[in-house]
Amino acid sequence: MAAIEMNHIVKKYGDGFAAVNDVTIDVADGEFIILVGPSGCGKSTLLRMIVGLEDITSGDMVIGGERVNDKAPRDRDLAMVFQNYALYPHLTVYENIAFPLRLSKQFNGKEIDEKVRNASSTLELDEHLERKPANLSGGQRQRVAMGRAIVRDAKAFLFDEPLSNLDAKLRGQMRTEISRLQKKLGITTVYVTHDQTEAMTLGDRVAVLRRGIMEQLATPRELYENPVNLFVAGFIGSPPMNFLPATLEGDMVELPFGKVRIPADKAERAHGRGLLIAGVRPEHFEDASVMDADKVAEGSTFRATVDVTEWLGDQQYAYIPFEAPPEVQEQLTQLERDLDGESLRTQLVVSLDSASWIRDGEEIELYINAAKMHLFDPSTGENLTAAASGDEGDASRRSSTTRGEGDRVATDGATTSSPAGAHRGPGGATSAT
């Protein structure tokens, strides 16, 4: 086990294209770090540089206190699970798992047998040990690949989109499995994914990358509640955050649907910037008719016509189209492109209580929790209100303190001495997650 420090890592290809550009991440010993981003953001390249399959153009890669830039993959003592598993088809499951042990020449036959059987029972592969990979299902192959990684007490685990080839149900199961395994073994882990569910559920901290540049490194909660810019805000969350054109007057924000009041400190920080982009998550809207009257009175409400509704049982989504001015529109289109998406129209997605009886085409009175609103600069994409993280959202953030012996510190609001200074505001009073 070891910490992994990446200092100003750059990967430039022959044509000058920087796949990874000045990324600095310190992965503490035993920490579970996720690299996430849309395709082509350099996350896999970064992982392959950690393991040594890709040369580092500049910067330092330090594993366990030792600079490994010029070391061959086999000298780095890391275990990796590949996206397509990369099992040795001519070897049985047993021999596949034993392969790294046999190569190391440190163990005799009995020790190898013991270790392989340990790993196989952890991953419930006992009855498949004598089979060849060709005769296994996708999930079983995935487990064999993990077995090959866990069998040899490597300094760290590296996962390269390990679940992307599995079907949805299996993916959910394996996700829990990986989380359980990592907690049990308490081993430093770097995990690459483009799936934000995996990113949010697995990671102690998540690094969001875009076009080779790290946009934000923070705990999942911090990412969700205090994204530093439009990109992170749009990338994290499903359905994504709504972006609306907004102008600020005093502490009143004018949205296409009406004016809402935001907390004074937020308004102050975003003051004097002209046209802004307001970001509001779907769940911060509600059908005013199903809420307590006094709660509605505290916040702002506006009326809008619902285009389409989607009822999911536990909640429902309503879609409300709106027009955006060209400056905002341009920025949103660019953002959409960065996120691998394609938006056909600007629309508001709101998540409503499933008790709401709203139907397609009806007008609705919507409550908006303006305290949770973010304001972004349309030209730079910077989150102008992010620094206002001293309030409730930040306080209930899950602590991301370094886990010494691999136990996740599950207490909330404890001394949040997060690594890498992801947190801005002081950790305030506790409220359960």
């Binding site: 393991v51 993959p73 099992l87 088809p89 392969f99 190569l103 190391s104």
Partner: protein
């Protein structure tokens, strides 16, 4: 209608079998006939009197057994070297990006297209000058050169099909590049290696033009060349039965090798390595 086409298929099979195997059976039958019977111009298909005297004679013939030894030695060494070189070259071609890769491949192809006969004269002169004439290496080198291109092309196709991740996985698991090659890539390319080996061996085993031109004594003469010296005492009556027997004897190793290797030549060995 269906029954008709079924019968048609069987008739076709039979016709092809007769077409292919009749000469072989004829040679077999000849090899069991006494010399007197063949020189008498006997027209019957099967021997009137069965004898294994031909086999005894041919195996007692020192020149023939020596030629057999030469054939085995030269073919096996040429095959071994050719496969080793081809494996390494093909691996480099499939995996590495180096300047002149296309050139190497096109030269290899050009060599394969070059007619052997055109080289006999120059080689004869050259070999005499460098004292390779009538030696094993004198035959091994050209055999190797002529079979390498095909072996390289066959093997590089096989290597390309092996997912690169396997090698990377092996390196991450602690293998040196050589270990990754030997323990992962070569076993997976085995069908290709055996295919190349068989093709090379057949070429070397059957080759006649170079064998007759670049040798002068039984020190290095191979069986195909040696057979042409089987004239017998009477130039108008070649020893057909002995020739047939020799043919049978040289065919047996080929059959054995094919039977041994055909199990190894199984497609789809890489299935299950990666998703798919």
């Amino acid at each position: 209608m269906k029954r008709n086409s079924g019968a048609g298929i069987w008739i076709g099979f039979a016709a092809i079998l007769v077409w292919c195997l009749l000469p072989v059976v004829w040679i077999l039958s000849l090899s069991f006939k006494p010399v007197a019977e063949t020189s008498a111009g006997s027209p019957q298909f099967l021997p009137e009197t069965w004898t294994i005297q031909n086999y005894k004679d041919i195996l007692a013939d020192g020149d023939f057994t020596r030629a057999l030894l030469n054939s085995f030695g030269i073919s096996l060494i040429a095959t071994l070297l050719s496969v080793i070189f081809a494996t390494l070259a093909a691996y480099a071609i499939a995996r590495l990006d180096f300047k002149g890769k296309r050139l190497v491949l096109s030269i290899a192809l050009a060599i394969a297209m070059f007619p052997v006969v055109a080289l006999v004269g120059p080689l004869f002169d050259l070999w005499r000058t460098v004292h390779l004439f009538n030696t094993w290496p004198g035959l091994i080198i050209p055999y190797m050169s002529f079979t390498l291109p095909l072996a390289i092309w066959t093997l590089s196709a096989f290597f390309r099909e092996i997912p690169w991740e396997l090698e990377q996985a092996a390196q991450v698991d602690g293998a040196s590049p050589w270990q990754a090659f030997r323990k992962v890539i070569v076993p997976l390319a085995a069908p290709g290696v055996f295919t190349a080996a068989i093709l090379t061996f057949f070429f070397a085993w059957n080759e006649f033009v170079l064998a007759i031109s670049l040798t002068s004594t039984t020190a290095s003469r191979t069986v195909p060349a040696q057979l042409s010296y089987f004239v017998g005492p009477d130039p108008f009556n070649p020893p057909f039965s002995l020739l047939a027997t020799a043919s049978v004897v040289v065919t047996i190793p080929v059959i054995i090798i094919v039977l041994l290797f055909q199990r190894k030549i199984v497609a789809g060995l890489t299935s299950g390595a990666v998703k798919g």
